[in-house]
């Protein structure tokens, strides 16, 4: 068959079947014939091909090992292709050796064809791999990178060392600062372990207890506690370490400290705890409270003195109600008896003298009674309870009925609220203010008095006291009060008129003021001469009952 026909025959199905059927046939002349069986040439080929095959077979094994070791390698598929290509190449060389003596050229051709496919595929893959391969650093490049990395590592280590040194410096500086702080604390500070050993003290501790630092450190805390308290104190300490907690200053009992010279002084201790590496330490703050104790006892002394003098004042009221009035009654009684019994024997002038003497005694008695009333307004027991202020107004008007009638007064009121007050005391306030309004009337027009109340958020108007409550007003059309007397009239025995014009001892408004103070309220006045006055008083919603000053009322 001619060439073209042969190829055409070969590629037909029949040709292919024929080819594979005769794949292992040795129907050609062995290749050795071409070398004329010259042993030198034969062995050159055999040795070379065998070595090449051996080398080619070893390469995939090495690659296999490499791939196994480097599981993460990105180009595994290429290595597999490359391995297969080399195995195929090795096999073609083995076939060359085989075919020196045999003539299975079909098999050799097939193997070459497989090798060709694999090698072409690998070659194409290699070309496509170039961009990736280009990125793989070369050894020198890696070397360079590595050395750069190394120098960076070195630099970092250097920096780390520097930082450590700096931190150490800072730590030392911080410690020194902390020490300075501890030293500067104006109160005693100490650290104590649970066995009672002193671990730290500051300067103030040295000053306070008279021991030097060396005498204190490592010693027992007991040395700072008076003998008689030591066993109790170690009990306290044991309990504290069982359940350590922060105890603020002033939260515990006042304790006693013992100085080196044996003298004692009152201290206050605040406690906290520090968990150090070597175990729990109690941190104590020690304050010398000698001065505070002195001030406290001074206050107590002054207070008891005040209580005593208040009690004496209360007793004065009692004395005034009894013992001062007795002799006065003698004077009055016997003068009047004299006047009565010796009427004919005493002339006009004598009778007049007796009259003045009696009048004086009676006025003195009234003064004493008013003084007594003032004292009682401040000291008598009061009970603050809800009460309808209208009933108090009515009671006051009833008590004043004679004066109202005689003065021709008209007393009216607006709606009056429920308040918290002492009934008796507040009735007296209404009575005093309405009574004054009638007393200090003008001749004409007839007295008109109006009482009203209004809720105030801040204790009303410009004179407000900042308290929420009811502001009552008692308005009259009387003679009025000059502005300069607005404060004075509330003073005790303060009078703006002579006894001939308006009788009275000048105690009524002082009593009123005292009663309102006891209710936590106040009284003030607005007035215009010749037009009238309005007295205001505040009763707070929640009367902050000022009964602290009240002495236990002595017998009155």
């Amino acid at each position: 068959m001619r060439g073209a026909a042969r190829i055409r025959h070969f590629i037909t199905v029949g040709g292919l079947v024929n080819f594979f059927r005769r794949l292992l046939d040795s129907d050609f002349m062995p290749h050795g014939h071409c070398f004329l069986w010259q042993p030198g040439l034969i062995w050159l080929h055999v040795t070379s091909d065998s070595l090449i095959a051996l080398a080619y077979y070893s390469i995939p094994l090495t690659l296999l090992y490499f791939v196994k070791k480097r599981a993460g390698l990105a180009v595994n598929w290429l290595i597999v292709m490359f391995g297969a290509f080399i195995v195929a190449c090795g096999t073609t060389h083995l076939m060359s050796v085989w075919d020196l003596w045999h003539s299975t050229y079909r098999l050799e051709g097939l193997i070459k064809a497989i090798t060709a496919v694999l090698s072409v595929g690998t070659a194409i893959a290699c070309v496509r791999l170039i961009p990736t391969a280009n990125r793989i650093p070369t050894a020198t490049e890696t070397e360079r990178v590595n050395s750069a990395l190394q120098s960076e590592i070195d630099a970092r280590k250097e920096t780390e060392k520097k930082l450590e040194a700096m931190f150490e410096t800072r730590r030392l500086a911080g410690e020194a600062k902390l020490n300075a702080f501890v030293e500067a604390v104006p109160e005693g500070m100490l650290l104590v372990s649970n066995d009672g050993a002193i671990h730290m003290v500051n300067r103030r501790m040295e000053e306070m207890f008279g021991y030097s630092r060396e005498e204190l450190l490592g010693k027992r805390l007991d040395m700072l506690v008076p003998d008689r308290y030591r066993s109790r104190h170690s009990g306290h300490r044991a309990r504290y370490f069982e359940e350590p907690k922060v105890r603020a200053m002033g939260a515990g009992r006042d304790l006693t400290g013992r100085r080196k010279d044996g003298s004692e002084f009152p201290v206050e201790i605040g406690l906290s705890y520090v968990d150090t590496g070597e175990g729990m330490l109690a941190l104590g703050i020690v304050i010398d409270i000698t001065e505070r104790k002195r001030v406290e006892s001074e206050f107590a002394r002054i207070n008891s003195e005040l209580v005593r003098s208040n009690t004496e004042l209360g007793q004065f009221a009692y004395v005034a109600s009894h013992d001062l009035q007795e002799p006065l009654r003698m004077v009055t009684g016997y003068l009047q008896l004299l006047e009565k019994r010796y009427k004919g024997q005493i002339d006009q002038e004598g009778t007049e003298f007796i009259h003045y003497a009696v009048d004086g005694a009676i006025r003195m008695k009234r003064l004493i009674e008013d003084l007594l009333a003032l004292s009682r307004a401040g000291t008598q027991k009061a009970s603050f309870r809800p009460v309808d202020s209208r009933t108090l107004f009515d009671a006051a008007c009833a008590n004043l009925s004679v004066a109202i009638r005689e003065g021709g007064a008209e007393v009216t009121c607006g709606p009056l609220p429920m308040i918290i007050a002492d009934t008796g005391l507040l009735t007296q306030v209404f009575q005093n203010l309405i009574g004054n309004a009638i007393k200090f009337r003008r001749d004409d027009p007839p007295p008109r008095i109006h009482v009203s109340a209004e809720l105030s958020k801040d204790g009303s108007g410009k004179e407000g006291s900042g308290k929420e409550g009811w502001v009552f007003s008692v308005r009259d059309n009387g003679i009025g009060i000059e502005d300069r007397h607005r404060e004075r009239i509330f003073g005790i025995f303060e009078r703006l008129h002579s006894a001939d014009q308006y009788e009275g001892s000048g105690v009524g408004l002082a009593i009123t003021q005292r009663i309102l103070e006891r209710h936590g309220g106040r009284v003030w006045v607005e007035s215009k001469i010749g037009e009238g006055s309005t007295f205001f008083f505040l009763i707070p919603m929640q009367p902050a009952v000022q009964d602290l000053n009240r002495v236990a009322a002595t017998k009155s």
């Binding site: 009692y318 109600s321 009894h322 009035q325 007795e326 006065l328 009654r329 003698m330 009055t332 009684g333 016997y334 009047q336 008896l337 009565k340 005694a361 009676i362 008695k365 009674e369 008598q380 009322a553 017998k555 009155s556």
Partner: protein
Amino acid sequence: MPYSRVHSNPIEVLLVEDNPGDVRLLQEAFKDGQFSGRLHVVGDGEEALAFLNREGPFEQAPRPSFILLDLNLPRKGGHEVLAEVKKSKDLRRIPVFILSTSTGCDDIANAYDLHANCYIPKPVDLDKLIQMSQRIEAFWLKTAVITA
């Protein structure tokens, strides 16, 4: 036994008062007020109880129709005398009138708590004192009835 307002015996009154000036003034006022009774005067609480119990120098003392009792007394105070009188079975029906300068609420309340029959603040004015004696007579002797 039917009672009689017309006492066959004179009305006996015990006045317990330590101040001689007061005693005299009261005596004068009672005289001026034409008080029909007879005033027996003792100066302190112990004497008052001795008089009422007819002890010591008061063995012959009459049983008073009523007692005028001051509160401020030496040795034994008026409140104590009042308490003892009102505790005694024999004496407790005798009306006791407290006559005191004090107008203190506590004194007044105390007196009534101890069953005083009335509490009279001592008047300052002579006329009022005379008036008082007349009113005591008018009420206690002529209006009310007391046991003998």
